[in-house]
């Protein structure tokens, strides 16, 4: 009797397991795929040629104009080649373009190199660009990066309209007519939104987004190369003849949910290069990695914005208060103590990795810690209208901002003797909703990551009157005029001069109070060479070798 009970118990226990197993009949085939492909990537590692790096599952289909986040952008940059590319210093060089000629500040003639192909054999011609840009700009396609085309004639956010400013002249030539002057237009063309698409993509964009066909240094290793939520395997594209010819045999981007896991893999040598260090290891990673640690400024500008309409921050009084607040913040100490030196105190409104950056702009001393001057300016403002209440900085609590917000507030509190505190929002989404709807009634944190390495990208979208990301509703006619002069300039150097002048106005008005530039923190494993981080904080994978 007992024996039979025991057998029954065993059977029942197996039943629990097998019933649950039966719930997902596909478990067998999904299991076998990752196992076999790991075996192949393991072999490749032995030959010393495939670079393994960290990444994250793309949040959008892998279509250049649909992608606006780094997880997908990193993959697209490896798989596609645009008209220009950016080198390690952020300078733009022709990639597919034979020449980009400015006819006048609103029109350009673009010639592309002959005999270029996509990895499915289709040739790269003028229409590959024109059709891709039209697809990305069309309102009903709802592409995340459609705003990149807003300067091209014919663009509309509200209704479907063709980009009439694009004209195909012949197979290898097309003209671009802009609806406003943009002297930095050629500089933008290295961004992924401007990549070409093969004609076959338009037949079924959904399928293309799952299995993209590019023309860049790398291509998908096979139909199952993109294992969702796991990794994507790229191999070199033998037909690529551009400047970014890979020095390695391939690139495997492993998706990590946490930076801790990526860092642990780096320490064990299971991944070759990573472009993020977890907070828990920021104090030790330079000791752990030695020369293999990377800590350099990135094209990320951090600030907090005081809305123009906020009480006590309007007009002359507001200008004094903004300057007082800025001078009350000890940026050096905060970047050192709170961030372990992984931020660089700001000296302008852009970033040191951008051509045209300067730390000697007139008025930049407002960004230096100067408690006496701060107290004086604050008192002057109080004379106009006495301050009462608490100065608050709103931030999203899910992004690790609480430490520095508290530090900034303490710095303000100690210097000016006023109440200052953080105003946390639980999630980034909630925070941005209030900022976008203008229902926020405190100062709030702002950050900007450049889309392309140009000064204008840090200024125009943020501070020009009625610009898309002008969250504080700043407006200054002189500033707008200088931007416009920069946009109509004949060459980049002249344009940068105007943009620097425009920044000197910002340093007086402080529509946003600059805090610091984020650094890129990363590292690479032993035996890995030629690691250089690009202006956008992503390693230039094609240069990396190992073994």
């Amino acid at each position: 009797m007992k024996v039979r009970k025991a057998v029954l118990a065993g059977l029942a226990a197996t039943a629990v397991a097998s019933l649950v197993l039966a719930g997902c009949s596909s478990s067998d085939d999904t299991d076998s795929t990752p196992t076999s492909s790991t075996a192949t990537s393991g072999d490749a590692m032995a030959s010393g040629g495939v670079i393994r790096t960290n990444g994250s599952e793309p949040e959008n289909p892998l279509i250049p104009t649909a992608t606006n986040e780094t997880g997908g952008g990193k993959i697209l940059d490896a798989m596609f080649a645009g008209l220009v590319y950016y080198d390690g210093t952020g300078a733009a060089h022709n990639d597919l373009a034979e020449s980009i000629t400015q006819v006048d500040p609103t029109s350009y003639e673009i010639k592309i190199k002959p005999d270029q192909t996509f990895t499915n054999g289709e040739p790269v011609v003028a229409s590959s660009f024109v059709d891709a840009w039209n697809y990305g700009a069309l309102a009903s396609n709802a592409q995340n990066s459609s705003y990149f085309f807003e300067d091209i004639e014919g663009f509309s956010y509200d209704e479907d309209s063709e980009l009439t400013g694009l004209t195909v002249v012949d197979d290898l030539t097309f003209d671009v007519k802009l609806n406003k002057e943009a002297s930095d237009f050629p500089l933008r063309l290295g961004y992924s939104a401007f990549y070409p698409l093969p004609a076959s993509a338009f037949e079924d964009m959904e399928a293309f987004g799952a299995n993209p066909v590019g023309n860049g240094p790398y291509m998908l290793a096979g139909p199952d190369a993109w294992q969702h939520d796991v990794q994507i395997e790229l191999v070199t594209n033998p037909d690529y003849t551009g400047e970014r010819k890979p020095a390695n045999d391939g690139l495997t981007i492993v998706f990590y949910a946490t930076q801790d896991a990526a860092y642990a893999d780096l320490l064990a040598g299971q991944v070759d290069v990573i472009d993020g260090i977890p907070d828990s290891s920021l104090q030790t990673y330079e000791a752990d990695l030695g020369e293999r640690a990377v800590n350099q400024p990135a094209a990320i500008f951090q600030s907090f914005t005081i809305p123009q309409s906020l009480e006590h921050f309007e007009g002359e009084e507001g200008m004094l208060r903004r300057q007082a607040l800025s001078m009350a913040i000890n940026r050096d100490e905060i970047t050192d103590v709170i961030f372990n030196g992984t931020r660089t105190p700001a000296s302008d409104f852009t970033s040191p990795v951008i051509d045209g950056w300067s730390d000697t702009l007139e008025g930049a001393e407002v960004l230096a810690y100067n408690p006496d001057e701060a107290v004086k300016l604050w008192a002057e403002a109080d004379a106009m209208s006495p301050w009462e209440g608490t100065f608050q900085i709103a931030y999203n609590a899910d992004g690790g901002h609480d430490a520095w917000v508290d530090a900034v507030n303490n710095s303000i509190k100690n210097t000016l003797g006023i109440e200052a505190s953080g105003n946390p929002y639980p999630t980034f989404g909630e925070f941005r909703t209030d900022v976008t709807d203008r229902t926020i009634d405190t100062a709030f944190r702002t950050g900007w990551q450049a889309d392309y390495p140009g000064l204008f990208n840090f200024l125009g979208p943020l501070y020009a009157t009625n610009a898309g990301s002008n969250d504080g509703d700043y407006s200054n006619a002189d500033f707008d005029a200088l931007l416009q002069q920069g946009n109509t300039a004949a060459d980049a150097a002249t344009a940068n001069g105007f943009y620097q002048d425009a920044q000197e106005i910002l340093l007086k008005d402080l529509p946003a109070v600059p805090l610091w530039y984020s650094n890129v923190n990363g590292g690479y494993a032993e035996g890995v060479n030629n690691v250089q981080f690009g202006w956008n904080s992503v390693p230039l994978y094609y240069e990396i070798t190992k073994g």
Partner: protein, 308 residues
């Protein structure tokens, strides 16, 4: 027995609707606009945002969104993620991985519970019993993530005995370390249950009878003591199976295991309603089924319990 099963299954139906409704409501009530979140620090163009909102039914009132979701759910369409994948595909990929991890952890947990519990029970108050109690107290007071990091650092990085992270290599071997750490942090309950019932059985009449009959120690321990002491351990293990399936997010994050915990975490941070609701619904269903089976196990294992 049959009516009992039927009743339990029928009870599961309101549980199913209740949970999906609650979960849907909670994700819906999550403050902030998921579409705005998609654009980072940049302000999305209103037209683009509206188009995306319509695509994911986010422009409908709450009850309509829920009904549309339910309609799709029962017609086998679990929705698509923001990146355009079928949620059912995501589930089919992630679920087996988690299942494998949890199965391995539960088997290890069971073995640890039975072996250590049996020896402790037989040597009550002796050296081994005391040591196992101290070790159990230490292990159950260490937070899971601390145990994970320590194991990863020493076993994986320092000694190189196991892969540091799992990633694409979701084989049994690669997932042994995380499974073992899970087992070590949860076996304590089962071990103490086993020990308690072993001590109880040793004093039971049938054991005394067995000794009186002249049976050897070697036969009485496995056949009479151990087998009858297994009942609470088996049900405890089965119950922890359901709890672990739903609770592997931390483990999967640390060891980079592409299972449901990780996918769910990312879906929550992106406010991806269809993914979150589908995953939680499936987890609920599993939990309910496992619980029904556990209750039935009692009856099978212990003749004194009968359901009518």
């Amino acid at each position: 027995m049959l009516t009992y099963i039927l009743r339990r299954v029928l009870q599961a139906i309101p549980v199913f609707f209740g949970t999906t409704f609650l979960i849907y409501f909670m994700v819906f009530a999550m403050p902030g606009d998921p579409i705005a979140g998609l654009f980072g620090d940049k302000t999305p163009n209103p037209a683009v945002a509206d188009a995306l909102r319509a695509q994911f039914n986010l422009d409908q009132p709450f009850i309509m969104q829920y009904l549309l979701y339910m309609k799709d759910f029962f017609t086998g369409n679990l929705g698509v993620t923001f990146s355009g994948q079928q949620v059912s595909d995501v589930l089919a990929r992630a679920f087996p991985v988690t299942l494998k991890l949890v199965l391995m952890a539960v088997v290890l947990e069971f073995i640890l519970s039975v072996v250590i519990g049996l020896i402790s029970g037989l040597r009550k108050g002796k050296f081994f019993d005391n040591i196992s109690l101290v070790v159990a107290l230490v292990l159950s007071s260490v937070p899971v993530f601390v145990a994970m990091f320590v194991a990863q650092y020493f076993v994986g990085i320092k000694w190189g005995l196991a892969p540091v992270t799992v990633g694409a290599d979701t084989t049994w071997g690669a997932m042994f370390l995380p499974a073992a750490v899970i087992a070590l942090t949860v076996y304590v309950t089962g071990m103490r249950l086993m020990r308690g019932s072993v001590i109880e059985s040793r004093q039971a009449d049938y054991v005394r009878t067995a000794y009186a009959k002249g049976l050897t120690h070697k036969r009485i321990v496995p056949v009479h003591i151990a087998r009858n002491s297994l009942i609470p351990v088996i049900t405890n293990t089965a119950a922890s199976f359901g709890a672990l399936i739903a609770g592997t997010t931390v483990t999967e994050g640390i060891f980079n295991i592409p299972g449901i915990g990780q996918v769910l975490y990312q879906a929550i941070t992106q406010s991806e309603v269809p993914t979150v609701v589908t995953f939680v619904t499936i987890l609920t269903v599993i939990y309910v089924i496992v619980n029904i089976l556990v209750d039935l196990l009692y009856a099978v294992l212990d003749p004194r319990i009968r359901y009518v």
